[in-house]
């Protein structure tokens, strides 16, 4: 049977969260306009390190989830989720999900006080060295091994936010097959031509790299799984931002685009699709808030909330981005219009941290609906 949820989870946004949202939105509007983001995708620096510095130094949002005693802002995952909503709305090319969420969650679980202050301040960009498609509750990865030379060897494919990372958190097995989580600075990241141009992936190679073990055995397994669950839960907020952009931009477009002597948004065939989308996005907001709340509270319901969030968000956000392309007509299919950036982000995010189907399979176990 499924565990009853905490019915008191606050699904609203607090005043502080709304203020935070306003600050992030203003910064992104000024520093990461869509035309610049699009141009950047074909440049030598697809990741916007200056924007990352601004998020870290000017807004101090890279360490929201980290307690003050470990150099963070002492807020939590709910506030982090609000930042992700805004980053999703802007399709901002910064390693926030990788460093401020996935790596930070792993470091918090491992209570690694050495790296936490550096990652919280944004000084160090860290990446969790797992394939971006890895789902929570997967078997512990064996792609990297600690060999008899005491060094780490292996390759990890398709890792998110690793191109600008200077530190990796690497799950690896030692010679006895004992899991461990290692902080590694000596690695190569080979760029991969990625479907999501605003979150380019990399293949990582560790060719005899020294690693500092930050968790071992069950603790390493738990730290990795918690990080993936929190990542899955919070990714839904980024997806919500993508879906909101798609809905708002498309709604504005069909109001002003005229064909047959009337706005195309006055045709029911268009209106009803956008109404359905609005309903889905409103639902996604509740689901994403619930997931962020479960992460923030360290709730035992987090595995369910995270699986639900990904099973739902992946579906809604892809539809939202696809509707944006379709309802913009010819212009929505051009390179010049930003809709494709969101389509690519939406489709990639639907695979990231587990597809909807994998999360439904996880739910089957978690809420006892097995075959």
């Amino acid at each position: 049977m499924s565990e009853p949820t905490d019915l008191r989870t606050d699904l609203q946004y607090s005043e502080v969260e709304q203020e935070l949202r306003g600050n992030v939105r203003a910064l992104l509007a000024a520093r990461a306009p869509q035309a610049a983001t699009l141009a950047r995708t074909e440049s030598e620096q697809p990741v916007d390190t200056a924007l990352w510095r601004a998020l870290a130094d000017e807004l101090g949002v890279t360490g929201l989830a980290v307690p003050e005693k470990w150099g963070g802002a002492g807020a939590g995952w709910r506030e982090t989720a609000v930042v992700l909503e805004e980053l999703g709305r802007a399709a901002a090319p910064v390693p926030y999900l990788g460093s401020a969420v996935l790596a930070t969650a792993a470091l918090l679980a491992a209570e690694d006080t050495e790296l936490l202050p550096l990652v919280a301040s944004g000084e160090v960009v860290a990446a969790l060295a797992v394939p971006f498609a890895a789902a929570p509750r997967s078997p512990f990865p064996s792609a990297v091994q600690l060999r008899s030379d005491g060094l780490l060897h292996g390759t990890v494919h398709l890792v998110a936010d690793a191109r600008t990372a200077t530190t990796l958190l690497v799950p690896a097995l030692d010679q006895d097959g004992t899991p461990g989580l290692y902080a590694v600075r000596d690695f190569t990241a080979a760029p991969v031509v990625s479907l999501d141009m605003t979150r380019p992936l990399a293949d990582l190679t560790l060719a005899g790299a020294a690693g500092r073990r930050i968790a071992s055995g069950e603790a390493a397994v738990a730290a990795l799984d918690t990080a993936l669950a929190i990542g899955a839960a919070l990714l839904a907020s980024e997806q919500l931002g993508v879906a909101e952009w798609a809905l708002e931009t498309t709604t504005a477009y069909v109001k002003q685009r005229h064909q047959f002597g009337r706005p195309v948004g006055s045709f029911q065939a268009v209106k009803h699709r956008l109404a359905d989308l609005w309903v889905s996005v409103a639902q996604l907001r509740a689901v994403a808030r619930s997931a962020a709340g479960a992460a923030a509270a360290g709730s035992p319901d987090l595995p369910v909330a995270a699986a639900l969030a990904q099973a739902f968000a992946s579906q809604v956000t892809v539809v939202a981005a696809e509707e944006a392309v379709q309802l913009h007509g010819g212009t929505g299919f051009t390179w010049e219009h930003p809709a494709h950036l969101y389509l690519k982000r939406a489709k990639s995010a639907s695979i990231a941290l587990g597809t909807a189907d994998r999360h439904r399979a996880a739910l089957a176990q978690l809420v006892d609906l097995t075959l």
């Binding site: 949820t5 359905d276 639902q283 509740a286 439904r360 739910l363």
Partner: protein, 397 residues
């Protein structure tokens, strides 16, 4: 004289005081609810003397929680939902002191049941096209016409009624709104049988029904505006409380799945999991809406919730029959019945499947709800209206 400020703690204290004087379990329901009304602890945002204490609506939840914790009785929303949710706010907003005094208390205590005489055979989604005529005659009005799709007409003492009082002006003008006595001469209620086999609804024929002018709500010709108040309150739940996970129909199907391994197939599992996800998303959305309402910020999510509920209920009830396989081929009873306490989730799987088909039609079709969301929430342009400036009597029908 200034009234002391109403706070959550003062309200909770008032509830406990009332509970101390009236045993919530042993007192007859109407008597207990009457005491609650007289203490101003019914709908607390109503004025003093009318079941409230002019308190912020956001504090209602605390009052409801306090009563619920003591096991105090509440009315069945299937039987009293129209009265509590639709008639009461309209009576309060547009009735005079005499209307308030006569109707609000017995409505709250459940002693009088209300129904809604709005839809007509020729005016469903286009409610403003309605043609039931009201002709002014001395101190009263004479009403002739036919209403349809009327739940509880056979149980109700009173109805809220919208009529056509002036056919010579465009449809949205020329309507007048009344309280109608369902026991008055000329009111004839005939059961309208649904696909389920039962007659949850009725047709109501009004033939020369006399309604005193004192039972008019709002100005003559202003009935559309009054009806908007009614309809806007339709989907605002009275004292809604949090629904647990698997609290709805999905829970019933999930239990069947768990208890009957022999029914399981991979395809059905996939369908069930998809619907479980959708149901949980809808539940959380409802919970978010409830929190917003409690915080005094009603949002347009009400229309969304109704749209989502209809689709979900139809899908889940359809899956339930498939899951049951051969057992899904039978139906419990086609005998003509008239339920006095309609319930959408009760009955058998076959009944639920058929009853759910009404969900996307009653209380605004899903198509009309999409128009409402598109136009009022998203601000998309209205449909081109060909009937806007045409006198009602000249409309094609």
């Amino acid at each position: 004289m200034s009234t002391p400020e109403v706070t959550e703690s003062s309200l909770r204290a008032a509830v406990r005081e009332l509970l101390a004087e009236h045993d919530p379990v042993r007192t007859p329901v109407a008597e207990f609810l009457g005491a609650r009304y007289d203490a101003g602890l019914a709908w607390i945002h109503f004025p003093e003397g009318l079941g409230g204490r002019a308190a912020p609506r956001s504090l209602q939840q605390a009052v409801n929680d306090e009563f619920a914790a003591a096991g105090a009785p509440t009315l069945d929303p299937g039987r009293h939902g129209i009265g509590l949710g639709m008639a009461a706010p309209t009576l309060l907003a547009f009735g005079d002191a005499e209307i308030h005094r006569r109707f609000l208390r017995p409505l709250w205590t459940g002693e009088e049941v209300w129904c809604q005489l709005f839809s007509e055979p020729g005016a469903g989604s286009d409610l403003a096209a309605l043609g039931t005529r009201a002709v002014h005659d001395g101190d009263s009005w004479v009403v002739d016409g036919q209403k349809v799709w009327t739940s509880l007409a056979h149980e109700a003492q009173w109805a809220i009624l919208v009529t056509r009082s002036d056919p010579s002006v465009p449809k949205h003008r020329g309507m007048t709104y009344f309280v109608c006595d369902m026991t008055a001469p000329g009111v004839e209620v005939r059961p309208l049988r649904q696909a389920t086999g039962e007659a949850e609804f009725n047709e109501v024929f009004l033939t020369g029904v006399r309604i005193p002018d004192s039972r008019r709500l709002g100005e003559v010709g202003d009935g559309w505006r009054v009806a908007q108040t009614t309809l806007m309150n339709e989907r605002v739940a009275i004292g809604g409380s949090a629904v647990p996970r698997e609290g709805g129909l999905i829970g019933t199907v999930a239990r069947t799945w768990r208890e009957r391994p022999e029914l399981r197939t991979p395809g059905l599992q996939d369908s069930l999991l998809r619907l479980w996800v959708d149901a949980e998303a809808a539940r959380l959305t409802g919970e978010r809406l409830r929190q917003q309402l409690a915080a005094g910020q009603p949002g347009p999510e009400g229309s969304a919730a109704k749209l989502a509920f209809a689709r979900l209920n139809q899908q889940i009830s359809g899956l339930e029959l498939e899951l049951l396989g051969g057992e899904g081929l039978v139906y419990d009873d086609w005998t003509f019945r008239r339920p006095s306490h309609p319930s959408m989730e009760g009955g058998t799987p076959g009944y639920r499947y058929l009853r759910a088909k009404g969900n996307s039609i009653e209380g605004g079709t899903s198509e009309i709800l999409r128009n409402i969301i598109a136009e009022r929430v998203l601000g998309l342009p209205q449909e081109i209206r060909v009937d806007k400036d045409v006198a009602w009597k000249d409309l094609p029908r």
